[in-house]
Symmetry: none
Subunit: 215 residues, 4 copies
DNA sequence: TATGAATGAGGGTTCATTCAT
DNA sequence: CATGAATGAACCCTCATTCAT
């Protein structure tokens, strides 16, 4: 049983870049700051990453790898209920934002708006992160398929949930007030309640009668 | 009848800055680019604006002034129905995004994520822009108050609508595919439909005797 | 009667760059050295020159402008004899090389070998400098047309003279010994002597007989 | 009978450095490029060469070793005539330049102008290369001693020939046009013709009775 | 010998801003 | 008000070189 290896230069650089891009944004973060914070020097950084853009790509790949272990996994531990998972997930983002003084917000969302137009590789990874996020939520919703109306498009719904998370975080962060996010989550909850009510009615209608039942 | 005055230096600078901040972001836009695009020179710019931050503030004030004339007004011209206005507004954003090749997105949202943490004055104006936007939508919703459930918090709902707009634009822009935004709007529409159904039921339950109500 | 204006920043930069490129070569000269030697700072340099290559172009244009006033003019002052001018010119280069401890050599020749392949604009100017040099010498030779054989191609001869200058300077500079240049000039002189002897014989042959004479 | 050994690391490095210094010049060639092109790594390079200057010295020594086998030898195979050898040699340089698109030129000449001032050891080797070149040509000329005037300094003449080669290559390479070199060679040829004519006259004057001389 | 990570000074260039005219 | 030269810190990146494995 030994102590864990100290993080490699590459990992220290990646972690510092990840944190600083999150805190300050991509353009506002200088390479020299990343070097200082990671106790690396420029040659080492450029040994591992071709340029600042490649470092951004590395950070986004890191987020991709982290999505399930750090974000989705804990939620899945907390409950098996697909719908509750959605609101626990949103609550986790909410709490994370509030607990850090409304700095930072969603790192992928921040980068999406700052760099997507000009950095093709980064854009691809941002898109993939969004897709993975939504796909994970979509799977949760499928597990609650029968508690939601037949006609509800669950893939679109998972996108909608991501929309609510990103839009809510943006406003709350800017206002340094969690209210806009809470309000958005509350309306999403109301929507789900209505959907579940509707689904229950559908089930009653279907289940109380024989197939092909009318009126 | 005379030709309109050519735009003043100040206006040309402000317009160039507005466009470039929108296209490229705040940090990625250099003062020299603004000067080139506005055919001004640095002395003139710094005569009107103390520094780059003040220019950002000028841009945000410009957006504040423009909100109703350019964004809300046209929607209000299109229909008097408060709920339909919401969806026309979202459709306008949607169409604007798609028609510009998925570049740009919402200028306030972009700046919110890029500069809110570090520029107090800009943050205040971003918050005010969000508030004005939501207040305007809130007023529309109030005009449809009786078609929505009593318990629905319309102020929160207006925040939720802004959330959907910002979150949907972010995803659609990154993906260069309008689908995530359309899916989000579709779910918002489904939510409104359920709310209106519920409100109708409430009205029926309450007495069925509202003016003009028959059946 | 006033003191002459102090040299402008642009001129100081250009002069420092010219001198340093000559002394050290293009690649071995850092922008920071040019700035130090010209007491300018980087912003000023890049205000006048787009990049280091543009500065090189500026230097080469400067040489183009200087060719006659500084190089050819003084020789023309010294004698009206076209052939003697050639050897005074070569002697001036020779003396310049020896008097500066065999550093430097011909600035155009140095740059020709160092940057011609990779800098199109610089290459053009180098070629033009060579052409101007040869054209000037060519004009001198034309003024001595009748002292050289009919069949001698004077344009080619002017190129040959440039060849002797550049090739001689190269060897003398490397050896830090003027001998290779002196030896080359001596052989060029011998060549001219033979040509003039031949031309004299031609004149005698032609002059002693009627045109169309056939032996 | 076995396959030849693959070139050693040292040889691969030396060959890559030689080629790159020739193509791009010394300062414009980075160690990392040499490593990439030779599939070596930095530790290996610095195991064999103390530093970049030592590598340059190695390259120049290589050229020294190669001078006769690769440059002079083939010419000597082509003809036994000392004077013709001179022009075959120049023609070979000429053809080499033109066949490689006017890149590269004489590697020693290039380095002479770029590094001679600042690298003492390299300078010595450059000088020695020039000396060896001229000495070889000098020997050729001695073999034609009786076809040239008594008074002609053949050592100086060999320097003059090197001058013509270097000066002609410089201009042709810069212009990407072989003409300046051809013109220079043509004049050197004319000079030799006149010298040979003069030598013939000297021989006649001296007695007309040299062995084998008839008519 | 070979490997490739680490070093940190220096490369060329852009930045926001100031100021004399 | 307008002009554009001047300022110098900071930008991203490459350099030749060293060293632990």
């Amino acid at each position: 049983m030994t102590a864990p290896d100290p993080p490699s230069s590459r990992d220290r650089i990646l972690e510092a870049a990840r944190r600083l891009f999150h805190e300050q944004g991509f353009h506002a973060t200088g390479i020299s700051t990343i070097l200082r914070e990671s106790s690396a020097n420029s040659g080492t950084l450029y040994h591992y990453f071709d340029n600042k853009d490649a470092l951004l790509v590395g950070v986004l790949e890191y987020y991709t790898r982290l999505l399930h272990p750090a974000v989705m996994g804990p939620v899945e531990q907390a409950t098996g209920d697909g719908i509750e998972r959605v609101f626990i997930l949103l609550q986790n983002y909410r709490d994370g934002l509030a607990s850090l003084d409304f700095r930072m917000g969603c790192p992928i969302g921040n980068l999406a708006l700052e760099v997507a137009d000009d950095h093709a590789a980064a854009r691809d990874l941002i898109v993939r992160n969004f897709e993975n996020w939504a796909a994970n939520v979509h799977a949760w919703l499928e597990s609650a398929r029968d508690r939601l109306p037949f006609s509800t498009d669950l893939a679109a719904m998972s996108r909608f949930i991501l929309t609510v998370m990103e839009g809510g975080m943006m406003q709350a962060r800017a206002a340094r007030d969690i209210a806009p996010m809470d309000q958005s989550i509350a309306h999403l909850r109301a929507y789900f309640d209505l959907l579940q009510t509707q689904a229950a009615a559908e089930r009653t209608a279907r289940g109380g009668n024989s197939p092909g039942d009318r009126s």
